[in-house]
Amino acid sequence: MREQRNRLEELGAVAVAVGFSPTTALAELAEHLAWPWPFLSDVDRVLYERLGLARARLRDVYAPATLRIYAEAARRGEVVQRPVEDSRQLGGDAVVRSGEVVRLWRPSSPDDRPPVHEMLAAVAMAATDRAG
Protein backbone atom coordinates (compact mmCIF):
# COMPACT_ATOMS: atom_id res chain seq x y z
CA MET A 1 0.00 0.00 0.00
CA ARG A 2 2.75 2.44 0.96
CA GLU A 3 4.69 1.66 -2.21
CA GLN A 4 1.60 2.17 -4.35
CA ARG A 5 0.77 5.39 -2.58
CA ASN A 6 4.30 6.66 -3.16
CA ARG A 7 4.11 5.76 -6.84
CA LEU A 8 0.82 7.62 -7.18
CA GLU A 9 2.24 10.70 -5.52
CA GLU A 10 5.38 10.55 -7.69
CA LEU A 11 3.06 10.84 -10.66
CA GLY A 12 1.44 13.91 -9.11
CA ALA A 13 -1.85 12.13 -8.60
CA VAL A 14 -4.26 11.42 -5.78
CA ALA A 15 -6.86 8.72 -5.21
CA VAL A 16 -10.32 10.07 -4.51
CA ALA A 17 -12.82 7.66 -3.01
CA VAL A 18 -16.52 8.08 -3.69
CA GLY A 19 -19.44 6.32 -2.06
CA PHE A 20 -23.20 6.82 -2.10
CA SER A 21 -23.65 6.67 1.67
CA PRO A 22 -24.31 9.80 3.74
CA THR A 23 -21.30 11.81 4.83
CA THR A 24 -21.35 10.62 8.46
CA ALA A 25 -21.12 6.97 7.47
CA LEU A 26 -18.43 7.58 4.89
CA ALA A 27 -16.42 9.68 7.31
CA GLU A 28 -16.30 6.70 9.66
CA LEU A 29 -15.18 4.46 6.81
CA ALA A 30 -12.52 6.96 5.73
CA GLU A 31 -11.16 7.05 9.26
CA HIS A 32 -11.24 3.27 9.54
CA LEU A 33 -9.26 2.95 6.32
CA ALA A 34 -6.98 5.89 7.21
CA TRP A 35 -7.73 7.15 3.70
CA PRO A 36 -5.25 9.96 3.05
CA TRP A 37 -7.16 11.70 0.24
CA PRO A 38 -10.69 13.07 -0.21
CA PHE A 39 -13.56 10.67 0.44
CA LEU A 40 -16.64 12.02 -1.28
CA SER A 41 -20.31 11.37 -0.70
CA ASP A 42 -22.56 11.04 -3.73
CA VAL A 43 -25.95 10.21 -2.25
CA ASP A 44 -27.77 11.04 -5.49
CA ARG A 45 -25.34 8.81 -7.43
CA VAL A 46 -24.67 11.54 -9.98
CA LEU A 47 -21.17 10.25 -10.66
CA TYR A 48 -22.38 6.66 -10.82
CA GLU A 49 -24.89 7.66 -13.48
CA ARG A 50 -22.43 9.79 -15.42
CA LEU A 51 -20.01 6.88 -15.61
CA GLY A 52 -22.69 4.35 -16.43
CA LEU A 53 -22.03 2.21 -13.36
CA ALA A 54 -24.69 -0.43 -13.39
CA ARG A 55 -26.60 -2.35 -10.77
CA ALA A 56 -25.67 -6.00 -10.53
CA ARG A 57 -28.06 -8.84 -11.03
CA LEU A 58 -29.31 -10.40 -7.82
CA ARG A 59 -27.73 -13.71 -8.74
CA ASP A 60 -24.34 -11.97 -9.03
CA VAL A 61 -24.68 -10.22 -5.67
CA TYR A 62 -25.94 -13.28 -3.86
CA ALA A 63 -23.97 -15.90 -5.73
CA PRO A 64 -23.65 -19.37 -4.17
CA ALA A 65 -20.07 -18.68 -3.08
CA THR A 66 -21.17 -15.50 -1.32
CA LEU A 67 -24.06 -17.23 0.41
CA ARG A 68 -21.69 -19.97 1.56
CA ILE A 69 -19.47 -17.35 3.20
CA TYR A 70 -22.46 -15.87 5.03
CA ALA A 71 -23.65 -19.32 6.09
CA GLU A 72 -20.24 -20.24 7.45
CA ALA A 73 -20.04 -16.95 9.35
CA ALA A 74 -23.47 -17.61 10.86
CA ARG A 75 -22.39 -21.12 11.89
CA ARG A 76 -19.42 -19.59 13.69
CA GLY A 77 -21.86 -17.43 15.61
CA GLU A 78 -21.02 -14.21 13.83
CA VAL A 79 -23.82 -11.73 13.34
CA VAL A 80 -24.59 -11.42 9.64
CA GLN A 81 -26.00 -7.95 9.14
CA ARG A 82 -28.68 -7.19 6.63
CA PRO A 83 -27.55 -4.67 4.04
CA VAL A 84 -28.70 -1.16 4.85
CA GLU A 85 -28.11 0.20 1.38
CA ASP A 86 -28.57 -0.78 -2.24
CA SER A 87 -26.48 -3.92 -2.41
CA ARG A 88 -26.91 -4.18 -6.17
CA GLN A 89 -25.18 -0.89 -7.03
CA LEU A 90 -21.80 -1.61 -8.55
CA GLY A 91 -18.73 0.52 -8.05
CA GLY A 92 -16.00 1.29 -10.52
CA ASP A 93 -12.65 2.92 -11.03
CA ALA A 94 -11.52 5.71 -13.29
CA VAL A 95 -8.48 7.76 -14.16
CA VAL A 96 -9.30 11.46 -14.32
CA ARG A 97 -7.19 14.13 -15.97
CA SER A 98 -8.24 17.75 -15.57
CA GLY A 99 -11.89 16.97 -15.03
CA GLU A 100 -12.17 14.34 -17.72
CA VAL A 101 -12.24 10.59 -17.31
CA VAL A 102 -9.70 9.10 -19.69
CA ARG A 103 -9.85 5.48 -18.58
CA LEU A 104 -12.69 3.65 -16.95
CA TRP A 105 -13.29 0.26 -15.39
CA ARG A 106 -16.92 -0.71 -15.11
CA PRO A 107 -17.27 -4.07 -13.38
CA SER A 108 -19.96 -6.53 -14.33
CA SER A 109 -20.05 -8.16 -10.91
CA PRO A 110 -19.34 -7.04 -7.34
CA ASP A 111 -15.96 -8.77 -7.12
CA ASP A 112 -14.63 -7.55 -10.45
CA ARG A 113 -12.16 -4.73 -9.78
CA PRO A 114 -9.00 -3.88 -11.71
CA PRO A 115 -5.55 -4.69 -10.35
CA VAL A 116 -3.82 -1.69 -8.78
CA HIS A 117 -0.81 -2.00 -11.08
CA GLU A 118 -3.11 -1.63 -14.08
CA MET A 119 -4.59 1.57 -12.68
CA LEU A 120 -1.15 2.96 -11.84
CA ALA A 121 -0.02 2.24 -15.41
CA ALA A 122 -3.04 4.14 -16.71
CA VAL A 123 -2.22 7.09 -14.42
CA ALA A 124 1.37 7.07 -15.67
CA MET A 125 0.14 7.14 -19.26
CA ALA A 126 -2.25 9.99 -18.49
CA ALA A 127 0.58 11.90 -16.81
CA THR A 128 2.77 11.42 -19.88
CA ASP A 129 0.00 12.61 -22.18
CA ARG A 130 -0.51 15.65 -19.98
CA ALA A 131 3.20 16.48 -20.10
CA GLY A 132 3.29 15.94 -23.85
Partner: protein
Amino acid sequence: MQGDGGHCRWAVRSRLSGIEADVDLAGIVLPDARNGTAVDLGAGPPLAILSIIRHRY
Protein backbone atom coordinates in the same frame (compact mmCIF):
# COMPACT_ATOMS: atom_id res chain seq x y z
CA MET B 1 -21.69 5.72 -28.05
CA GLN B 2 -23.55 5.86 -24.78
CA GLY B 3 -24.23 8.60 -22.37
CA ASP B 4 -26.49 11.08 -20.73
CA GLY B 5 -27.15 14.02 -22.92
CA GLY B 6 -23.78 13.96 -24.60
CA HIS B 7 -21.67 13.92 -21.48
CA CYS B 8 -20.22 10.49 -22.20
CA ARG B 9 -18.38 9.22 -25.21
CA TRP B 10 -16.98 5.73 -24.90
CA ALA B 11 -14.18 4.99 -27.29
CA VAL B 12 -12.03 1.90 -27.74
CA ARG B 13 -12.92 -1.11 -25.60
CA SER B 14 -9.72 -2.81 -24.54
CA ARG B 15 -9.25 -6.53 -24.13
CA LEU B 16 -8.77 -5.90 -20.43
CA SER B 17 -11.54 -4.72 -18.18
CA GLY B 18 -10.63 -1.05 -18.62
CA ILE B 19 -11.84 1.05 -21.52
CA GLU B 20 -10.55 4.30 -22.91
CA ALA B 21 -13.10 6.95 -22.22
CA ASP B 22 -13.88 10.60 -22.67
CA VAL B 23 -16.30 11.54 -19.92
CA ASP B 24 -16.65 15.13 -18.85
CA LEU B 25 -17.18 15.50 -15.11
CA ALA B 26 -18.31 19.11 -15.36
CA GLY B 27 -21.01 20.00 -12.88
CA ILE B 28 -20.33 17.18 -10.44
CA VAL B 29 -19.59 18.75 -7.07
CA LEU B 30 -19.55 16.43 -4.07
CA PRO B 31 -18.85 16.99 -0.37
CA ASP B 32 -15.85 15.44 1.34
CA ALA B 33 -17.38 13.17 3.97
CA ARG B 34 -14.87 14.19 6.64
CA ASN B 35 -15.06 17.96 6.49
CA GLY B 36 -17.89 18.89 4.14
CA THR B 37 -15.55 20.63 1.71
CA ALA B 38 -17.10 20.73 -1.75
CA VAL B 39 -14.92 19.07 -4.38
CA ASP B 40 -15.63 20.00 -7.98
CA LEU B 41 -14.64 16.94 -10.01
CA GLY B 42 -14.97 18.92 -13.22
CA ALA B 43 -12.36 21.41 -12.10
CA GLY B 44 -9.78 19.07 -10.65
CA PRO B 45 -7.72 17.52 -9.25
CA PRO B 46 -5.33 17.57 -12.22
CA LEU B 47 -4.68 13.84 -12.10
CA ALA B 48 -6.51 11.28 -10.00
CA ILE B 49 -7.85 7.81 -9.61
CA LEU B 50 -11.52 7.72 -8.71
CA SER B 51 -12.27 4.70 -6.57
CA ILE B 52 -16.03 4.39 -6.54
CA ILE B 53 -17.28 1.98 -3.95
CA ARG B 54 -20.34 -0.16 -3.52
CA HIS B 55 -22.41 -0.17 -0.37
CA ARG B 56 -20.66 -0.14 2.98
CA TYR B 57 -21.72 -3.57 4.22
